[in-house]
């Protein structure tokens, strides 16, 4: 097992600032987990269906 002190010292470079990817929000692990959580997504499935049904009803009304 190696520890941090055993690791070869690699000089850390600053990343080039303010690139495209600097600004947009990136989902956290928590958010990503819920995007594929079967239980939560099953609930969202019905909620999204209901919302789209409302959209359809209004569009065809």
């Amino acid at each position: 097992m190696t520890t941090e002190s055993d690791s070869p010292k690699v000089p850390v470079k600053n990343r080039e600032p303010y690139q495209q990817a600097y600004y947009p929000p990136v989902p956290t692990r928590f958010t990503r987990y819920f995007r594929t959580s079967v239980v939560w997504q099953f609930i969202r499935f019905w909620i999204i269906n209901f919302k789209i049904f409302k959209l359809l009803a209004k569009s065809h009304g």
């Binding site: 495209q20 929000p25 990136v26 989902p27 594929t36 959209l55 569009s59």
Partner: protein, 486 residues
């Protein structure tokens, strides 16, 4: 007895045909559908064909047997010209067609009508950009099943090279400054990313988005606002987040001017002219009308009276040019009836929009770099159903169209797959109401914020998969099809 002639059997034309065949069943009225292709194609699923997740057979079916079951006269042919007043030989209005089936290929015919529905869809105008497209060009397409099959073949070749340790650049987006249908490209880029990850080669690939949108997430609708994380945020944030999460780069405000083998030349709104190297590129072509001509009784060319310069047919829209600040939902058509000939209707991509939805932008050179309006999916079905209902009522004596489906009063739902897997897949589900912003009713954002939302998750993937089967079942006129949503 009246004859209703429908040109085109895509989403909108087939919607008109299936509703009229149901509503006019048992009557003496006759419905004829003219379409150059023998197959109906559920176009959204072409994306999955383009990454090898589905076959052509899974996204198409034969129209002939379905129309036979529905009592519809189906002609596999392409429409050539419209003669709304007839000609020297035939006093009734008619359309000239040219058959495309094996037995009668090249033969022409005249089909007279009492009501004409133009649902011819778009001409995929690859020729607008030198080097664009699979036929004689250097990019692939997912617009037809055949194109998508070829796209997948090229994709698999690149995956093979990546597995051998090579690096590759994938470019996806729009192939011209005035393209629409950004959603299809948006969906395809995520499916490529997913496919590369599944093959364990994503780290060797650079994935780039290029489009004519002012900002990511514009989609030709002038962008969209949604509620997210306690804020009203913009579709740009939503779309950029998706790209950053997957380590993609993007170029927006771009007009692709020329494509050479391995090199895309483009111009941006600020006047910059640049090049982008690629190994694999899927760029959506601009759309034009299919090139129908129109002639008067004396044989005079009256194409410019029925059609806009882009070849799309004029309907009940306000075509007077006006500045962006004065654009209104009232400019948009609602009955889709031709102003000159009240027995002609146009639905889907075939109708001429009064103006874009996104603000028109031009580069210093004068190149227009802004998307044209989308009319596919739910809006196409809504206008098809409305026109079918109007024709039904006019056949029963109504003096004018009875049903309306303005894009300023109807919404759209888009489910873009971002990876296909029953447990780990996701999709971006987005809805917008109305499609054309209505700042009179919704002064702040132009849209109903209860019906306009965006969400990413597995639920969207389930919906996308279910919708694939539901819409194909409905299009095949399975029992109870009319109870399903359009």
């Amino acid at each position: 007895m009246a004859r209703i002639l429908i040109l085109g059997a895509g989403l909108s034309g087939h919607t008109v045909a299936r509703y009229l065949s149901r509503w006019l069943k048992g009557s003496a009225h006759q419905i004829t559908v003219v379409s150059p292709k023998a197959l109906w194609n559920w176009i959204p699923s072409n994306i999955w064909v383009g990454v090898g997740e589905m076959t052509k057979k899974q996204v198409t079916f034969e129209l002939g047997p379905v129309y036979r079951k529905a009592g519809v006269d189906f002609r596999q042919a392409k429409a050539i010209s419209v003669h709304p007043e007839g000609d020297g030989e035939l006093s009734r209005p008619f359309v000239t067609i040219e058959y495309t089936d094996d037995q009668r290929a090249g033969q022409t015919d005249k089909i007279d009508y009492d009501y004409l529905v133009n649902a011819t869809g778009p001409k995929l105008n690859f020729g607008a950009t030198p080097g664009l497209g699979p036929d004689g060009g250097y990019t692939v397409s997912v617009c037809t099943p055949e194109h998508a099959i070829e796209a997948n073949e090229k994709l698999q070749e690149n995956i093979k090279a990546l597995k051998q340790g090579e690096t590759r650049t994938f470019v996806v987006g729009t192939g011209h400054g005035m393209c629409t249908c950004q959603g299809a490209a948006f969906e395809y880029i995520y499916n490529i990313d997913h496919c590369l990850r599944e093959n364990g080669v994503r780290d060797k690939a650079r994935i780039m988005w290029i489009s004519n949108e002012y900002e990511l997430g514009d989609f030709g609708m002038g962008g969209v606002h949604i509620k997210r994380g306690g804020y009203m945020t913009n579709g740009k944030v939503f779309a950029e987040s998706l790209m950053v999460e997957r380590n993609m780069e993007w170029i927006t405000r771009a007009h692709v001017s020329k494509i050479e083998p391995g090199k895309i030349h483009y111009e941006t709104l600020d006047g910059t002219e640049a090049e982008l190297d690629f190994d694999f590129a899927m760029l959506i072509p601009p759309f034009a009308g299919v090139g129908l001509k129109a002639y008067g009784k004396d044989g005079s060319d009256m194409t410019d009276q029925l059609f806009a310069p882009n070849g799309m047919m004029k309907v009940d829209a306000d075509y007077s040019p006006k500045p962006y600040e004065d654009w209104s939902k009232a400019d948009w058509p609602s009955t889709y009836q031709n102003p000159l000939y009240k027995n002609i209707f146009t639905v889907g991509i075939a109708f001429a929009p009064p103006h874009p939805i996104s603000k028109v932008m031009k580069s210093p050179k004068g190149t227009q770099i802004s998307p044209t309006p989308p009319r596919t999916g739910m809006p196409s079905a809504a206008m098809g159903r409305a026109v079918a209902a109007s024709i039904r009522d006019m056949l029963n004596g109504a003096p004018e169209p009875t049903h309306r489906a303005s894009m300023g009063e109807t919404g759209a739902a888009c489910v873009a797959s971002t990876g296909s897997d029953i447990l780990k897949g996701t999709a971006a589900t987005m809805t917008v109401f109305p499609v054309v912003p209505d700042y009179e009713t919704f002064p702040e954002y132009g849209r109903d914020m209860d019906l306009t939302f965006g969400e990413i998750g597995l639920a969207g993937h389930w919906m996308k998969y279910i919708l694939h089967h539901v819409f194909i079942y409905q299009a095949k006129l399975g029992p109870g099809w009319h109870l399903l949503p359009d």
